[in-house]
Symmetry: none
């Protein structure tokens, strides 16, 4: 049997959060992120961990660091659109994997989703 747990490292969880904020437009193109130190305090983690998150986001071209000024969401709307698409596909892919693991067919997934939405609306 496979092992348990395997939680994502904090620096990635933090990156996920920031990505979601961007996708939800709580953080807009060109907007400044919290400083490394402030984010560290607010998140209750070490500044180095935040630094690593920001570096990771910069590597993904989602964020741009300007020494002495701060870290900013990229101005490249295309990149942000791509991020939104990537996250969407990731969630869909996870959903399909889970449902497949439970033995549902693709057709049942779509039907199930539609029914659920239908019922919710009633």
């Amino acid at each position: 049997m496979e092992d348990f747990q395997a939680t994502k490292p904090i620096y990635m969880q933090l990156a996920d959060r920031i990505n979601h904020k961007i996708v939800r437009n709580e953080l807009r193109a060109g907007e400044k992120l919290k400083s490394v130190r402030d984010m560290a305090v607010e998140s209750g983690v070490n500044p180095n961990t935040v630094q690593r998150t920001y570096s990771e986001l910069e590597r993904m071209d989602i964020v741009e660091s300007r020494r002495g000024q701060g870290t900013f969401v990229t101005e490249d709307k295309g990149k942000l659109q791509q991020l939104r698409d990537d996250l969407k596909n990731e969630h869909i892919s996870n959903f399909i994997n889970q449902m497949t693991e439970m033995g549902f067919s693709k057709n049942e997934m779509v039907k199930g989703l539609q029914n659920y939405i239908q019922k919710e609306g009633e």
Copy 2:
């Protein structure tokens, strides 16, 4: 900001796995589960943890402990059908929540899922 991590406790993760096995029909109605001791060894966890998992499943009327004999999947097909439905709805609900949080409409979710399945098949 909320805290990080919050991995599900192991006993719940183990319960999830067993539920998935039942739903996939790898464990059938009336079938005997592994003994607490065997399951503990196989999963590499403490027997007490397995015991707690089995208790939890019994509380949900999914399994039934028979003193001196072991633990068995319920014979009640209705319960098992309900389990399948519950898990399905849980996953669907989670999916909708995540997509909603990213700002997608219900319509986009269904379309996105269909498109993804479509592309996958190509």
Copy 3:
């Protein structure tokens, strides 16, 4: 006037050294690098710094980390050929920049190089 110094960070200098070793075939495809700790001792730097170097090389697909086993030069010969080409172009580019800064024309650079080699051989 522009500022002085600006030496590359240690983790990059170390990456450069390893890349050169690979290009010179002192480290071959598939070969194991020194462990993070050993390399740290040998180089007189902190293990975290070596770790960062290895991560960087992995991000560049030059090296592959296998948890519990070590870090290995990629088996992908194409990648290694590309590395060789990249380093070559980098050195050539630097050379051209320096010579240009001194006021030499492209033609003088080639001539100068050929003459130098000529004289060296005598």
Copy 4:
């Protein structure tokens, strides 16, 4: 393994810059260099450092100090020509060493340089 960093001392970096200026003819034979004090302010370094740079250049017969008047580029055109040749040869030599270290033959270096220039021009 050799140590890292080993940035050239600032006084030598400054000497390099001045030499480059002379070679590019931004500073001509006989022209007056900035005063030690002015150069120190402009470069953001200590006047003693500039003094050391000027002494070094004087030792190389590239500049000439005239008490009470300042520091002047030598009038000796031969010297300046020699400086240009020395710098050129130094850069060429460095280039050859690096490329040799990477395992390139002399022929590949020349070819590589020509190809690079060729591609750049396109």
